[in-house]
Amino acid sequence: MTNEQIALIEAILFVSKDPLEPERIMNFLEITDVEEFEKILQAMEKKYLLDRPERGLILKRSGGGLQLVTKPEYHDALKDFFTIKQVTKLTLASLETLSIVAYRQPATLAEISDMRGVNTSGPVKNLLQKKLIRISGRKKVPGLPALYATTPEFLIYFGLNDLSELPSLEELTELFEEKEQPSLFK
């Protein structure tokens, strides 16, 4: 590992607007050993960014790629500086819709609406526009309804590398039982 390699990775990540696949950087740097590359990344992540109070950036791994992002503690300052009044957030209806799509994909609008007990065409449209879901195909039933699935942007938005990082439904129940109100399940 050389300082030059770290500097070069930083420069590449600085310029890129999307997360970059680690393989692409490895090939470019002509590193063949995955472990070696991982060591460089870990050093960069911790010693050169996270542990350095004079640095405002951290290395983020999401959407299966690498990206430089700001440290969370500077969120408010950035908001002030760029005079951003409100950071857009998803509505509860959209989050519920995304949950269903994420766990049941591919799912049709009828299936989603059925599970939520309400018509969900609004949130589905909203999520399509935000590119958090996409039409992945058509269900082979009368009417050929569109099937919805999550997008790479979905992973990036929620800081996931892949869908398997979402807890399974069983884990989820335990997760909430530990820290929350008594569950309806026993």
Partner: protein
């Protein structure tokens, strides 16, 4: 304008009938597996009565569930022949509720993840959020273009035309025409341009030409505000690409 029902504030913030039912079950500290839905039917119905203002599409979902609850209650009052093969409406509704409770938990988890992720700023963050810029241009998808396209076609279909002679339109000729217009004005307003065209045939050819030009990166489609008009700009290298 397209208004997403998403932004409506719901009475007491219930996302739907299932949300309300879960709330009532929790409030009464009942266990979902042991509960007799007929017991909370009255409470559910009194909630509906208290609701002011009717939004038909929304209320209908609440009413459907109300009907199911009343049906369940009426069944529980009648002697019923035991038929284990058939799933009772009560069991069905309870299963839906159990599934829905899981969804709520996942949503909550996603919400927490969204919160922590939103603290980290990426490149491009400003393009999405920056409110002070005059034009926060949003690149539009073929999906949105198609939406406007069909709206125009529908409008044209209702118009009466007197055909003198039919013209043949070619994509090549259209492309030259569009390129000249974009060059002359610096941009092209999608709706205005489409509305000016004479026939559905011409609209079709123009639309496919536009899609082709966007695909070949000759043009770039931008939308200044959500649901606003879509403009087409020449895709100059080093410009608009961020």
């Amino acid at each position: 304008m397209m208004e997403t029902p998403d932004y409506q504030v719901q009475t007491d913030f219930f996302e739907g009938p299932l949300d309300l039912l879960l709330h009532l079950i929790r409030k009464n500290k009942l266990n979902i597996n042991e509960i007799r839905l007929s017991e909370i039917t009255t409470e559910y119905l009194s909630y509906l009565e208290k609701k002011k203002g009717i939004n038909p599409s929304r209320e209908s979902d609440f009413l459907t569930t109300a009907a199911t609850l009343i049906y369940i209650k009426s069944r529980s009052l009648l002697p019923k022949p035991e038929n284990p093969a058939e799933e009772s409406p009560e069991k069905q509704l309870i299963n839906t509720l159990i599934e829905y409770e899981k969804i709520q938990k996942i949503s909550k988890l996603l919400q927490e993840m969204e919160y922590t992720e939103r603290l980290l700023w990426r490149r491009l963050e400003l393009n999405e959020n920056f409110t002070n810029r005059e034009y926060a241009l949003k690149e539009v998808s073929a999906f949105q273009l198609a939406e406007i396209f069909f709206a125009i076609v529908r409008k044209k279909e209702n118009e009466q035309f007197l055909y003198v002679s039919s013209k043949n339109y070619s994509i090549a000729a259209k492309q030259a025409e569009i390129a000249a217009l974009v060059k002359e004005n610096g941009y092209l307003d999608f709706s205005t341009y489409m509305n000016r065209l004479d026939s559905i045939e011409e609209i079709l050819v123009s639309f496919f030409t536009l899609l082709e030009m966007i695909k070949r990166h000759l043009l770039i489609a931008m939308q200044e505000t959500l649901f606003g008009t879509i403009s087409l700009y020449p895709n100059l290298p080093g410009e608009m690409s961020n």
